[in-house]
């Protein structure tokens, strides 16, 4: 907050002060934040909050100093370059001050830079260098205690950043093959879902099971909403160009490599854990070949995914009943409800059909939850 205040005070123009004095003043907050951070590093008695504050203060002051200097010399606003330099200077801070906030801001800086770079017809390939530079910090915390709040928080941050990075990463492939990104996103969410078999983070709080939750949400959103509309598949297919921008073969090479990893990962995870939850694992994995099929034959893809959504929903409902997990069954019912609700925006179904579907789904919801309630009561009586 103090850092933010200084930025706001200084950002208010200060034209009357001589130029050289202004340049010195603009460096003082950066120097102060560096002295503070250095003090925190050499005196190890400081706690978590002070370390995080020192890292945040330093990162904000780097940004403010460069911005103020740019203002003094009337430099044109090159935000892309500003974020690149800032991310580059910020990454070591998270390692030296062991700051999760610094990690998050650096990753956010890298994503922001990549978005600007894409906007300026760049390749954003440097994003992956930033990402790889940040990865050891996350992995060290994860290996140490994957169930800690910090580790859990960073896992969610990594997942969210990937959701963004896949979007700008697959533009190069899209320049020649529109629709590749939908297979990539399907593979990403299926991988996350199947990772739950390998890495279970069950801490008991709201943000537990990040891979399962993010994977389920992503698969649900794509298969029950986006992929069930015909407009979504209109431009998909081999050879259909997705853009008019410049095509960068080297950057596309990185994209193809990530794409290959994303395809192989869920296949490997499914085969390795075939015996664990075979029904739901297979039902979720099915999304990937279906997305690839939809990419090849986009004409009837929306119907395929409408049927798939029902299959996925019912597999979840049955698995929930089998394992006596109400949350699993209700998630299945919710996905089916989403499919039907989104059909209201689809002109092809009559109101009678939609009404019957809702009625059936409502009855399933009541029936399944009544079953769980009865089982609970019987267990209580015993």
């Amino acid at each position: 907050m103090i850092g933010g205040g200084i930025i706001l005070l200084l950002a208010h123009n200060w034209y009357m002060i001589p130029r050289l004095v202004r340049t010195v003043i603009s460096l003082i907050p950066l120097l102060a934040s560096q002295i503070f951070a250095f003090n925190v590093i050499i005196k190890k008695r400081w706690g978590f909050a002070v370390k995080e504050s020192a890292a945040l203060f330093l990162q904000l002051m780097i940004l403010s100093s460069i911005s103020l200097i740019a203002q003094i010399y009337h430099l044109p606003g090159d935000l892309e370059q500003l974020f690149m330099i800032w991310t580059f200077l910020s990454i070591p801070i998270c390692y030296l001050l062991k700051s999760d906030l610094s990690f998050t801001l650096s990753l956010a800086g890298a994503v922001t830079w990549a978005l600007f770079d894409r906007g300026n017809s760049g390749t954003a390939a440097l994003y992956w260098v930033f990402f790889i530079a940040l990865l050891p910090y996350y992995l060290a915390g994860f290996m140490k205690d994957r169930g800690s709040n910090q580790s859990l928080f960073l896992t969610w941050i990594i997942i969210i950043s990937f959701c963004f990075s896949l979007a700008f990463s697959f533009i190069d492939i899209r320049m020649v093959d529109h629709g590749f990104w939908l297979i990539a996103y399907s593979a990403f969410f299926v991988t996350l879902y199947l990772l739950e078999n390998e890495i279970r983070i069950d801490t008991g709080n709201l943000f537990k099971k990040p891979f399962l939750k993010a994977g389920s949400l992503g698969i649900g959103f794509l298969s029950c909403i986006l992929f069930t509309y015909s407009w979504f598949w209109e431009n998909a297919g081999i050879g259909k160009s997705g853009g008019t921008g410049k095509y960068f073969p080297a950057a596309a090479g990185i994209d193809y490599f990530i794409f290959a990893l994303l395809i192989l990962a869920p296949v490997f995870l499914l085969l390795k854990n075939i015996k664990k939850n075979p029904l739901v694992n297979a039902a979720h994995f099915l999304m990937l070949p279906l997305a690839a099929l939809g990419y090849l034959y986009p004409d009837n893809a929306k119907y395929v995914f409408q049927i798939y959504s029902i299959v996925l929903s019912f597999s979840l409902i049955f698995d929930g009943v089998k394992k006596n997990k109400a949350s699993l069954s209700n998630w299945g019912i919710f996905l089916a409800a989403v499919l039907i609700i989104t059909r209201f925006f689809d002109e092809e179904l009559s109101f009678i059909t939609r009404g019957i579907a809702f009625l059936v789904l409502g009855l399933v919801f009541v029936g399944v939850n009544f079953l769980f309630y009865s089982r609970k009561n019987i267990r209580g009586l015993k």
Binding site: A11, H12, N13, W14, Y15, M16, T23, S26, L27, L30, L31, Q34, A37, F38, I41, I42, L58, I62, S65, I66, S67, L68, I69, A70, Q71, I72, Y73, H74, L75, P76, G77, L79, I85, L89, P92, I93, L96, N120, S121
Partner: protein, 182 residues
Amino acid sequence: MIKTAPVIFLILAMIQLSVPMYIILSKEIILTAGKVFKFETLPVDPYDAFRGRYVSFRIANTIVTPEAGFDNDETVYALITNGTNGFSYFYKVRKDRPSGQDYIRTRIDYAERGYVTIAIPFDKYYIEEDEAAAAQSGSDHSGRGTNERAYVGVRVLGGEAVLEELYIAGLPVMQYLKRTNR
């Protein structure tokens, strides 16, 4: 024994400081040793959340007829000369760095058959928030039958340009605002 973390941090701190220091030094060298050019401006305005208020303007002559084909965003060298009206203008764009001539390194903003528009690396003048609107108004009236003609003084050295001053009616913008009690 020397601890590694403080040493690494000191190196990092030096690098962090070197970035703004490099900008300061490189711009000061241009402002001290660079050749002065006057570019006439055309009006506009916005608000930059990162840096407060500024006066935004367009340079009067940014369209050049090229001798070769250029693409959008291509890096080019724009050659500068002084016109008979006392203002400078860009008269040529080249792909290779010129020698013995005045030029800036920039990029093609928009390429069309027969002409190109170059991006200008000095199109904003940062100023006191309250003064910006008044200055903008003065700048906007330039070249519309009034005497308040606006132009910018730019220093150029080695292909780099730094905006030195915005002038309205022949006065530096702050003096102009004082004189007109805006």
